[in-house]
């Protein structure tokens, strides 16, 4: 049986950030992810906002990790070559709502977050398309957007580069034993041994606690639905536009994405684990609520709908050492601002939950800055010529909408955490993310995946078993 110092269950942004951090020490680390890629849960479907941190209740873990995470994330995004933009954010309100904005600002002050209240003239300088009734806004310059799945993938790639092991398609079904002697079983029959286990399974965390005999967790689920808009809409919005937060969360926003699209959403609908469907009713809510804050939504430019699942476990993040199961820790209810908080959560997990069991001896020669992968669109003419001369695949455009070349796709397949599904390629290089949604390039991506991995096209999947795209004839 393969033996590890630490096993992390769940390859969302939190699990990936934790293993990335642990990989800097002389530890054998394993991450087990049920999905066919990391970022298979809420880390792939959220708003991608780097929150400034005025919103969380002062004194909570959310407030602390949001602030610390925000400070760390900009640099990490650069190290990991993850698309991000410091756009700043606006919480907008009418004249009557000014007191509520002031209350929000006061909370930001207590949380140590710089914000200011600005009037309509100032708002229009930052965002010309706020709705007509908007008179005031809380402006937070430290807010921005990041590609959430690219961040997760970036962490995973660096962890693997630094010697950690990540196993995909490995749904954990049982956790036996205790400190120094854990055995973790996966659905595919594989078993792994470890001294300590960290449960970072997101929506699956309650179930993992249950099977491990750790503290029972009561969680509820809520889905958030979105529209993704064509890149041509990007010119109409420059910052993040929030309404005033309400009891259901931060409300329907309009924001650019770090990759140059625009999103409208999310809704906040109670649901069950696993439900990421989009309902017509949800879309109607987006339309209705966005009209209050944003003047120029254009639903005809929709290229995609999606929904993400929030896992809620009380008011705050739950990050604990199990008292029932020595050597086992768990994270639950990591909903918003969990993405922003991930670096700070990881630091806390390593220092407070892993360090008591494992000596942290820094590894020598750790990689910190990952190689930068320039996209075709970012290259100069001279650079393109040089690359095509060295490798003709740089001259073969596979995805027309996003101008992605064969060379970039091959590089994703050969990256530290290899992309072996159509979706994994799409998230890494954006082939199929554009307005035709893979209509033209998907068959070509299939072909390249099959060639590079040696697996027949009929066995290549969109996102794991049961999602094969083509079948043999007859």
């Amino acid at each position: 049986m393969e033996k590890y110092d630490v096993i992390i269950i769940g390859g969302g942004v939190v699990g990936a950030a934790v293993i990335d951090r642990l990989a800097k020490y002389e530890l054998r680390c394993l991450l087990l992810e049920a999905g066919s890629d990391v970022a298979y849960g809420s880390s792939r479907a959220n708003s991608g906002i780097i929150h400034a941190g005025y919103d969380a209740e002062t004194g909570t873990l959310k407030a602390r990790f949001n602030r610390e995470g925000n400070r760390a994330l900009w640099n990490i995004a650069r190290e990991l070559d993850v698309p991000h933009i410091k756009t700043g954010s606006l919480v907008v309100g009418t004249a009557e709502q000014l007191p509520m904005l002031q209350k929000l600002k006061a909370r930001g002050d207590l949380n140590g977050v710089v914000t200011e209240i600005i009037g309509r003239a100032e708002i229009l300088k930052k965002e010309r398309n706020v709705a007509d009734g908007i008179e005031y806004a809380l402006y937070a310059q430290e807010a921005g957007v990041i590609s959430p799945y690219k961040l997760t993938i970036g962490y995973a790639d660096r962890a693997v580069t630094n010697g950690a092991v990540i196993k995909l398609n490995s749904a954990v079904t049982a956790v036996f034993g205790r400190r120094g002697n854990f055995r973790v079983h996966c659905a595919d029959g594989a078993q792994y041994a470890a001294d300590t286990v960290v449960n970072a399974a997101g929506a699956g965390a309650a179930e993992i606690n249950r099977i491990a005999g750790a503290e029972p967790l009561t969680v509820t689920y809520q889905k958030g639905e979105y529209y993704v808009l064509d890149q041509t809409e990007r010119k109409n919005i420059s910052t993040i536009i929030f309404p005033l937060p309400n009891e259901f969360g931060k409300g329907i926003l309009a924001a650019p994405t770090a990759d140059g699209n625009v999103i409208y959403g999310p809704t906040a609908e109670p649901t069950v684990n696993g439900d990421t469907s989009v309902d017509a009713g949800g879309l109607d809510k987006i339309k209705k609520q966005l009209a209050v804050t944003y003047k120029t939504p254009d639903y005809r430019k929709s290229i995609r709908l999606y929904a993400g699942l929030r896992t809620i476990c009380g008011m705050d993040f739950v990050i604990e050492q199990s008292k029932l199961k020595d050597g086992f820790s768990y994270l639950a209810g990591i909903c918003s601002p969990g993405l922003t908080s991930a670096p700070a959560i990881a630091e806390y997990v390593v220092n407070e939950l892993v360090a008591p069991f494992k000596a942290l001896v820094p590894k020598k020669n750790c990689v910190t800055v990952m190689p930068k992968h320039k996209r075709l669109k970012e290259l100069t003419a001279a650079e393109i010529k040089e690359r095509v001369r060295a490798d003709e695949a740089w001259g073969r455009v596979i995805c027309r909408c996003e101008s992605v070349t064969e060379a970039e796709i091959v590089a994703a397949i050969r990256s530290p955490l290899s992309a072996v599904t159509v979706d994994a390629v799409k998230r890494r290089v954006r082939a199929g993310m554009g307005r035709c949604q893979g209509g033209f390039c998907m068959p070509r991506v299939l072909e390249i995946l099959a060639r590079e991995t040696g697996v027949p096209e009929t066995e290549i999947t969109k996102c794991g078993k049961g999602t094969e795209i083509v079948f043999p004839r007859g």
Binding site: V278, G395, V397, R435
Partner: protein, 409 residues
């Protein structure tokens, strides 16, 4: 590098434009991003192409091959295949990228846009429910089946009655797929009548007009679709919702001219066609840039594409040589019952000009009229007119006054 005429796209439009320009003595370059010429025709292995142009019935690849052969044998035409055009400027500098030739930059006396169109997707029509595998645009499924030689599922539903969807209903039936249902939002088909007959009726595949999908279900693979009748407001009536189990859904919900390349270079666009505004010679609002085929407006018949592209290619050649001239401009306007026309400007002079148009609904027993300067310059009675079939009328250019209005009476 300098060429008299640069053609972007090597489908039927691009090839016909290139041949017409070469015939006028021009040096021509054609950029095609695929491995071979032919465009969308290469995956249309059914017959029904060329009835007008070649006066015989050909398959798509056969039709394309006839043109490709001529292009290959034309000494004045240079073809770059696997060459994707990345940009074109209003001054007609065209930059393309190819694995073999690297980055290619050419200056052209005139440019013909012939990039074809792309399909509307699930996201574009805001298809709700889960996002499983098994949902393909009809053209993608066509490529997977006809070109790559795979099968895509066992039980299918088709949303939309565009021609590709209809053709695929038949094609999949031949492949042993059970096509259970075709749903069309509008009260009429957006495809050709002959395709409804030959692809659905002949195989007893039911089509429901005025119906749409309300949501799809299935975690990994598509399992079921729910559908409902739509009301006057084209919104589904919840009380009419039903479902059908299937593992494949093809979307044939519209084609959009592929104009991303010219985004932001100042070419005036027509929101009704999603193509450029064009004159009689298919010249756009930027002098020297012409457009033809599906990039200009979506055609039903390749024969019309070839004819339009020959016109554009020939005019581009004249432009490049500085001899394109015309009489006074006359705007083409749409009246009752007409959705759009191409071209949007015609010129006074001698001879005839063809004006293509689509109606905005199904009309029976109507007189199609064209008027200029208060006088009727064309009039014809028609038993039926549908948006699915592009119409053409011939106008005597000497009769044109300030503007030309098309309408149904």
């Amino acid at each position: 590098m300098y060429f008299n005429v640069a053609v972007i796209g090597g489908g039927p439009a691009g090839m016909a434009a290139a041949l017409a320009a070469e015939k006028k003595g021009c040096s021509v370059v054609v950029f095609e991003r695929d491995k071979r010429l032919g465009g969308i025709l290469n995956q249309c292995i059914h017959n029904g192409f060329g009835l007008h142009y070649f006066k015989e019935e050909l398959t798509g690849p056969e039709y394309a091959a006839r043109f490709a052969e001529r292009v290959k044998n034309a000494p004045g035409i240079t073809v770059y295949d696997e060459a994707m055009v990345l940009s074109v400027t209003p001054e007609r500098t065209v930059t393309a990228l190819s694995p073999y030739a690297g980055l290619i930059t050419v200056e052209a006396g005139a440019t013909v846009l012939a990039m074809g169109c792309r399909e509307r997707t699930a996201g574009a029509i805001a298809l709700t429910g889960t996002r499983p595998v098994g949902i393909y645009t009809a053209g993608t499924a066509q490529r997977l089946i006809n070109v790559d030689g795979y099968s895509v599922g066992k039980e299918a539903v088709i949303l939309g009655s565009g021609d590709i969807g209809l053709i695929m209903a038949r094609r999949m039936t031949f492949e042993g797929v059970r096509v259970k249902l075709v749903l069309e939002l509008m009260p009429y088909s957006s495809g050709l009548k002959r395709n409804i007959v030959q692809c659905l009726d002949d195989f007893e595949i039911p089509i429901l007009y005025g119906h749409t999908i309300t949501r799809v279900e299935g975690a990994e693979r598509l399992r079921r679709i729910y559908y409902a009748e739509v009301g006057e407001d084209i919104r589904p009536k919840p009380e009419t919702e039903k479902y059908v189990d299937c593992d494949t859904l093809l979307l044939s919900v519209g084609l959009i001219p592929e104009n991303d390349l010219i985004n932001g270079i100042g070419i005036k666009m027509n929101p009704l066609t999603s193509g450029a505004v064009a004159d009689e010679y298919r010249q756009t609002s930027v002098p020297g840039i012409f457009a033809a085929g599906n990039v200009l407006h979506v055609h039903d018949l390749v024969d019309n594409v070839s004819a339009e592209a020959e016109l554009a290619g020939s005019a581009a050649a004249d432009y490049a040589k500085g001899v394109l001239s015309h009489g006074e401009a006359c705007a083409v306007k749409v009246g009752a019952g007409v959705r759009y026309t191409v071209p949007q400007t015609v010129y006074r002079g001698t001879g005839k000009v063809d004006v293509y148009f689509r109606t905005d609904g199904v009309y029976k027993n109507k007189t199609l009229k064209a008027e200029s300067g208060g006088e009727t310059v064309f009039s014809k009675h028609r038993l039926i007119l549908t948006p699915g079939e592009m119409e053409r009328i011939e106008i005597d250019k000497s009769k044109l006054k300030d503007s030309l209005t098309l309408r149904l009476e």
